[in-house]
């Protein structure tokens, strides 16, 4: 789908390509991210993503800390979705140490993760529309709904965004009946908001004109570049780790994986709307079936937690894609010997150039918006 740039006819005014640096201090780059764009007129003929402005040495830091001390740092990876980040690390450690998680904890994890997915997707749509020039309205509607979920997270974990909620073998505090009722209330009201949101956006002619057939990611490229999450599914790749791995208790829920056909920006927008609807389905089932019992495995210690030598990779379907942690434990086992994080937005960003070539500069912004990046995770 990449348009060929027509060579400049001889005899006309001679033009040359110009290199423009977009970012790192630009509101449309979603943080300190820079795009080194080569432009022919207004058309993009080359684009290099430049990362690393927010590098915080997360992996190396984790290698000199206890296993437990890494959990609050994972909150700061993708600061929109601290719950799924926690889960990814806990899942890897539990796999490595062979810890069994109690039923109730698994359900609570599913509930908070799906709520996280809802808040991430609704806000990403808001940000995308912000990039299109829809100043404020969709974003603030999304933020209004997000606030209700964050209120629940605050009463549950103590913090709105840096939840630090999960622990090896469970979660830190139990979900009380009042919180379950609050979650049920959020879930019951959310579809109404989603309908309203769709009414506002899905058929909007401006949105259709700007998003359809823009930034197409072919299915083959998505697979070859190991794109994951809603971006891969918008290109028609049927790959959802909740279905593939069935980690936690995801095997018990009835939900479907929506797939896109074209793989353009509009598909990436709409796939998120559909995924939110599926998340609501999962939430309804999880809140209905939430069992009683322990919320954390009692045999797991907080201090002096040690893991026998070995290595393991645990991954979850984070709202942005496959988030995984590869951990190696050696003699002693008090802290990881090697700690590697596979961040979805970093890897999804690698196809940015392929999607942008041949489009106008204004489209670059919306294509980047549809990738859904958080720089905390891209740079780590």
């Amino acid at each position: 789908m990449i348009q060929q740039i027509s060579p400049i006819p001889t005899g006309m005014i001679e033009t040359q390509t110009i290199e423009v640096s977009i970012g790192p201090q630009h509101p449309s780059t979603h943080g300190v991210f820079r795009m080194d764009a080569v432009l022919d007129g207004e058309t993009v003929v080359g684009l290099k993503p430049v990362m690393g402005y927010l590098h915080r040495n997360h992996e190396q830091l984790a290698e000199r800390m206890t296993w437990l001390a890494s959990i609050p740092y994972t909150d700061r990876l993708d600061y929109f979705n601290s719950m799924t980040n926690n889960w990814a690390l806990c899942l890897s450690v539990e796999k490595l140490a062979g810890i069994k998680v109690p039923e109730r904890a698994e359900y609570i994890r599913v509930i908070v993760s799906e709520l996280t997915r809802i808040l991430n997707h609704s806000c990403v749509i808001g940000f995308m529309l912000q990039d299109l020039g829809a100043w404020g309205t969709p974003l603030l509607y999304a933020f209004r709904e997000r606030e209700k979920i964050l209120d629940l997270f605050e009463s549950l974990s103590g913090a709105r965004m840096m939840c630090n909620y999960m622990r090896f073998g469970g979660v830190r505090v139990d979900m009380t009946d009042a919180m379950v009722a609050q979650a049920k209330d959020i879930v019951a009201k959310f579809p109404r908001f989603l309908d309203e949101f769709e009414q506002l956006l899905s058929n909007n002619e401006v949105l259709l004109a700007r998003c359809q057939k823009v930034g197409i990611l072919p299915k083959e490229l998505a697979i070859n570049a190991s794109i994951s999450g809603p971006m891969a599914r918008a290109s028609g790749v049927d790959y959802d780790i909740r279905k593939v791995d069935k980690y936690g208790v995801y095997g018990r829920f009835d939900f479907r994986v929506p797939l896109g056909e074209v793989g353009d920006v509009y598909d990436r927008y709409y796939i998120r709307v559909l995924e939110m609807r599926e998340s609501i389905k999962i939430l309804n089932q999880a809140l209905r079936d939430l069992p009683a019992g322990a919320f954390v495995a009692p045999e797991v210690k907080l201090r002096n937690f040690k893991i026998p030598p070995g290595d393991g990779y645990g991954r979850v379907e984070a709202p942005k894609g496959e988030l995984g942690f590869y951990l190696v434990s050696d003699e002693g086992g008090k802290m990881p010997y090697r700690y590697h994080c596979r961040p979805p937005s970093f890897i999804n960003l690698t196809t940015l150039e392929d999607m942008c070539l041949g489009h106008k500069v204004a489209d670059v912004v919306i294509i980047l918006g549809s990738v859904d990046i958080v720089l905390g995770e891209v740079d780590r």
Binding site: E147, G158, E196, R303, N304
Partner: protein, 349 residues
């Protein structure tokens, strides 16, 4: 029936509905979610956390913190700095002299609260901490950190009640146990003031450190202790505390009668270093008497979580006056296991 611009009109209907809706949703806060912040503050949920504070019962002197440094060790961004209070003779006072939290570094993760065995550090929910200065103003010192248990009960009623009940039960259990234990065990014995190295105390026939060896005084002290610990039993049995006190030029401290006297040998106990691992510490006491071996198995924090310092607890176990081997909190199961193993080796269990 579609026509161009239908989607736009639909969208505008939604915005109009929301615009008007805010005026009818005032009470429920369903649509109107803005708080006029400095005048109007949103209510905080009980679990809400901002920065840690230290709890005291009654007066600030009766703080729960015993300066065991567990939170300092476990803090992920290393923002806690603790110095244990000692009297003029160097005796640990079971409370911090310095307890600083750098709130510009603190990431409010609550791990210090979770690992504290004494329920001494808790999360506050006061988020208005802005200061004019960037450096000193953002470090909270001990007086800023101390807050009463009543305050804790006020901000986190459910959690505080559970903690109070737990502490009460623990105190009762301790009181019951205390009657069978020698009461004199509680006052801690003087800790090692790490005197200057004395080559004279190094046993003959052992390696002595040459005078011109390129060591600092500290390294010398450590090496002297390391070498002497290899074969000669110095503590408890070898040199009497009074003799050591005389040689170091200190006035002897009146010791409780019930417990055997123990004083650090010259150079201190080389294994009395929380930085060493269990195996390293055990290597240092291979040929030492049982009490030293037991002491080396402790976590070496002198946290008094067991009711003694590390030396005292080891001596009490060796003397048979203490039978519970699981009292070392910072050492956890590793210490308990090692103590059991050592006692079995010695044929006392």
């Amino acid at each position: 029936m579609g026509f161009l611009g239908k989607g736009l009109f639909q969208g505008m209907a939604v915005t109009a509905r929301n615009f008007v809706g805010t005026y009818f949703d005032r009470g429920t806060r369903e649509k109107l979610v803005t708080y006029q912040y400095p005048e109007e503050k949103p209510p905080l949920p009980e679990n809400s956390r901002s920065f840690p504070f230290l709890v005291y019962d009654g007066t600030p002197d009766a703080m729960r913190c015993v300066a065991c440094k567990i939170c300092e060790t476990e803090c992920p961004p290393q923002c806690i700095y603790i110095v244990m209070d000692r009297d003029e003779k160097g005796k640990p006072q079971q409370r911090p002299k310095v307890f600083d939290i750098d709130i510009s570094v603190c990431m409010q993760c609550q791990i210090c609260v979770e690992v504290c065995p004494f329920e001494a550090i808790k999360m506050d929910n006061d988020y208005e901490k802005s200061q004019y200065g960037r450096f000193d103003d953002l470090i909270e010192h001990l007086p800023d950190l101390l807050k009463s248990n009543e305050y804790y009960n006020e901000i986190k009623p459910t959690e505080a009640k559970a903690v109070d009940a737990k502490l009460k039960a623990e105190a009762e259990k301790k009181a019951k146990k205390g009657t069978s234990k020698p009461a004199a065990a509680a006052p801690a014995k003087p800790a090692a003031p790490a005197p200057a190295p004395k080559p004279a105390t190094a046993p003959a026939g052992k390696i002595t450190i040459p005078e011109d060896a390129p060591f600092t005084a500290e390294q010398r002290a450590w090496l002297a202790g390391f070498l002497s610990a290899g074969g000669v039993a110095t503590s408890g049995t070898g040199v009497s505390p009074v003799a050591v006190a005389e040689t170091t030029g200190e006035t002897p401290v009146p010791l409780p009668e019930a417990t055997p006297a123990a004083e650090a040998p010259a150079g201190g106990w080389p294994w009395h270093d929380p930085g060493l691992g269990m195996s390293q510490r055990m290597d240092l006491v291979k040929a030492a008497p049982l009490a030293d071996k037991l002491m080396a198995a402790m976590a070496q924090t002198d946290c008094h979580a067991c009711g003694y310092d590390c030396r005292g607890y080891a001596d009490a176990i060796a003397a048979g006056s203490e039978t519970d081997l699981s009292l070392c909190l910072p050492g956890e199961a590793e210490t308990a296991k090692k103590l059991e193993e050592l006692m079995k080796e010695a044929g006392k269990l």
